[in-house]
């Protein structure tokens, strides 16, 4: 593999830049991750080394370049129905409970806090559609956010390659919810319209949001240090309505980080219910 050169100082600078702007902690031994994520960017920007990248970042008018660095590092692997079990739990346990608890208002507020290229929010949208939500007079306010404009734009467009729809998506849903457009597959317009995609950096101020019935914040906390995890969970505790649900990644939990959530386990899946 052809890996561009970079001094330890350059990588230390990049680690600090990423921490200061996104609170993502990259230890010194994660240099390979920076090389993998930022290497292709050096080629695109016609830069010969990571030191040149740092020099450019230290120069004038480096805001857009800084944004591109952050986007390259914070774009994570995603797939439809990633880990499957949390989504089964959402469909079989959480939605029936919410249909009961919110029957009077017939309204649900849902937030997907790491939308990436859209696979996760669309998975949630497909499940809601399968459960007949929105068809029975319910109002769904569904917001999906991400740090990166680039991935948000892809998510809004709802266009996925064959390799992407091969991953995790049950084929009956491919037939029902996608159109083939050239060689790609696009989520049908009515489903795309269900979701408001917005830019949000979890480290900055959160916009005013309604009390959420369900928040998906999966595979996000894993990148942060403990004080930041606690801070985000504190803000989530104010965002999720008492009795509402929080879904984290499979290797994440609120254990020792927040007392505002109680684990709910069904089969192989766990989610966290806001204490009342």
């Amino acid at each position: 593999m052809n890996v561009a050169a970079g001094s330890e100082q350059a990588f230390a600078f990049l680690r600090k830049l990423i921490y200061d702007n996104s609170a993502i902690v990259l230890e010194a031994d994660k240099r390979y991750l920076l090389e993998a994520r930022l290497g292709p960017m050096l080629t695109r920007e016609h830069l010969g080394s990571f030191d040149e990248l740092v020099a450019r970042l230290n120069g004038g008018n480096s805001g857009p370049l800084r944004q591109r660095v952050l986007e390259a590092v914070t774009t994570h692997e995603t797939s439809f129905f990633r880990d499957l079990h949390p989504f089964e739990m959402f469909r079989k346990t959480v939605i029936p409970r919410l249909l009961n608890e919110r029957a009077a208002a017939k309204r649900l507020n849902i937030w997907c806090g790491a939308s990436s290229t859209g696979q996760e929010p669309y998975t949630i949208a497909f499940i809601m559609r399968e459960c007949g939500l929105q068809l029975g007079g319910w109002t769904i306010d569904f917001v999906a956010t991400d740090l990166s404009e680039e991935v948000l734009s892809r998510a809004r467009n709802g266009m996925f390659s064959q390799l992407e729809v091969n991953r995790g998506l049950p084929v009956p849903m491919l037939i029902k919810y996608f159109d083939k457009v050239g060689l790609e597959f696009q989520v049908k317009a009515d489903l795309r319209k269900m979701i408001a995609f917005r830019k949000l950096n979890l480290m900055e101020a959160w916009p005013s949001m309604p009390e959420m019935d369900v928040v998906f914040m999966r595979n996000v906390l894993i990148y942060f240090d403990v004080p930041t995890k606690k801070r985000i969970l504190e803000r989530l505790a104010r965002t999720v309505r008492p009795g509402g649900y929080l879904f984290l990644g499979t290797v994440e939990s609120t254990h020792n980080l927040s007392s505002s959530f109680q684990a709910v386990q069904v089969g192989n899946a766990t989610c966290y219910q806001r204490t009342t």
Binding site: L84, L163, N166, G168, V171
Partner: protein, 126 residues
Amino acid sequence: MRALIVDDSKTMRRIVGKVVKENGFDTIIEAENGEQAMARLRDVAQEPVHLALVDWNMPVMDGLSFVKTARAEGFAELPIIMITTEGSMEYVTRAIEAGANEYLMKPFTKESLHDKLVLLGFETPT
């Protein structure tokens, strides 16, 4: 667990077989076309298979005919994954309407085949 791999390409049978083995199947049975595969299913002297992975385009009996024949002959519970280069919605729909449970488009990654196995309830660690 036993998986039946139906493909006229030996290379493809080997690739699919390797991934399926990595996902907890211990016995791989190979067939070069739908007719051979049906003969194996009908053979009551042999132990039943738990999963069939079937190519679409094959000589003698193609994958779609295999799916229709297997369902018509009472193999209703056998999970069948169609693995094919055919990527149009028309083909995908025809396969599912004929009774295939899942559909994987070539080229595919081993992770995507793993995902399909999980969707069909064959749970193994990644």
